[in-house]
């Protein structure tokens, strides 16, 4: 086998392999603590119901439609159709000491959003909605 044939064979093999098959990705890639930190904010101003109202308003501001929402469990899942399809699940949990934790998770197709800046933007938007709800502007 000369060098040229070998190289061609290598390229052909790579092409056939493509994106190699992987075992089912069940547990995700990020470390649990880092992921939680990036995706979670705590608020000490509003009750759970008002926080959920604000989350729904924020999602609508960001162009999402709500797939499902459960006030008791504090879970909202929403979808946005754009040049890509983004799905988000936001959970609202009451903590001790009158604090409310909001956790957001977004995914585009097969890719989980891991960039902390994206979640930062979401929480900035949520902050604004919280302010409007709290001050009874709407």
């Amino acid at each position: 086998m000369n060098r040229q044939t070998r190289t061609t064979a290598l390229v052909a093999m790579l092409l056939i392999t493509g994106c190699a098959t992987t075992p089912p990705d069940v547990v995700g890639a990020g470390t649990q603590l880092e992921t939680r930190q990036a995706q979670t904010r705590e608020f000490d101003t509003l009750d759970k119901a008002m926080t959920m109202r604000s989350v729904v308003a924020t999602l609508q501001d960001l162009g999402f439609t709500i797939d499902q929402a459960d006030a008791d469990l504090g879970t909202i899942t929403a979808t946005r159709l754009d040049t890509y399809t983004m799905r988000m699940t936001v959970t609202v949990v009451a903590k001790t000491g009158d604090r409310i934790a909001v956790r957001a998770f977004a995914r585009v197709g097969e890719n989980a959003i891991t960039d902390p800046a994206t979640y930062q933007d979401f929480f900035i938007a949520l902050d604004k909605a919280m302010f409007l709800t709290q001050n009874q502007v709407d």
Binding site: R3, Q4, T7, T8, L10, V11, L14, L15, G18, C19, A49, M52, R53, V56, A57, Q60, D61, L62, G63, F64, T65, I66, D67, Q68, A69, D70, A71, D72, I76, A78, T79, R80, L81, D82, T83, Y84, T85, M86, A106, V108, N111, I113, T114, D115, T118, Y119, D121, F122, I124, A125, K128, T133, Q136, V137, D138
Partner: protein, 182 residues
């Protein structure tokens, strides 16, 4: 030459596997306030049940199926699949196919013609925190358009304020009708 080709093939492979994360995906756009205003109305109704009933009736008037309701949050999600066939688009594609056929090839342009569209709508109806008897109603909508081969052709948010206005007009009428029936 071979080395260059190998590099190119490797690059292509890497690009194929690359993850595409949109930047600023969750940043509020400058037009947010304007869009929110177009999508929101404050309506007067005798009770929360009355306005929710009127809203569901409007969705049925517009031939939507209600998918989910979460009353404590005032969230109603509904959807419908309708025809997205456009006569003018099809005429254009027909001629494109004709030109291809004359040139001895098959472009299959007609396959890419719009066929169905799925419209999803979320309506959030909440009692105003400022004034009793008033309800803040906000609608968001988006749609997927499929071509004749069931491939996704368009994914978009529906932003035209006139469409939202038409729905609110219907909702006002529905509230009036529901009230006069009681």
């Amino acid at each position: 030459m071979i080395r260059a080709l190998t590099t190119l093939a490797l690059l292509a492979l890497l690009a194929g596997c690359a993850t595409t994360t949109p930047t600023y995906a969750l940043r509020l756009e400058e037009s947010t306030l304007e869009v929110r205003e177009a999508q929101t109305r404050t309506l007067v109704a005798p009770s929360e049940i009355a306005i929710l009933t009127a809203t569901i009736a409007v969705l049925q008037d517009m031939e939507f199926n209600v998918e989910r309701i979460e009353k404590p949050l005032g969230v109603i999600t509904a959807s419908k699949i309708t025809d997205a066939d456009s006569a003018s688009e099809k005429t254009g594609l027909f001629f494109l196919d004709l030109v291809c056929a004359l040139g001895g090839s098959d472009c299959g342009a007609m396959d890419s013609a719009q066929d169905d569209q799925q419209i999803t709508m979320t309506i959030v109806v909440l009692p105003s925190l400022a004034r009793s008897g008033e309800f803040r109603t906000r609608i968001t909508m988006q749609r997927v358009v499929y071509d004749k081969m069931d491939r996704i052709k368009v994914l978009e948010r529906i932003g035209d304020p006139a469409i939202y206005q038409a729905i609110f007009d219907n909702l006002q009428k529905s509230l009036f009708l529901e009230a006069s029936e009681q």
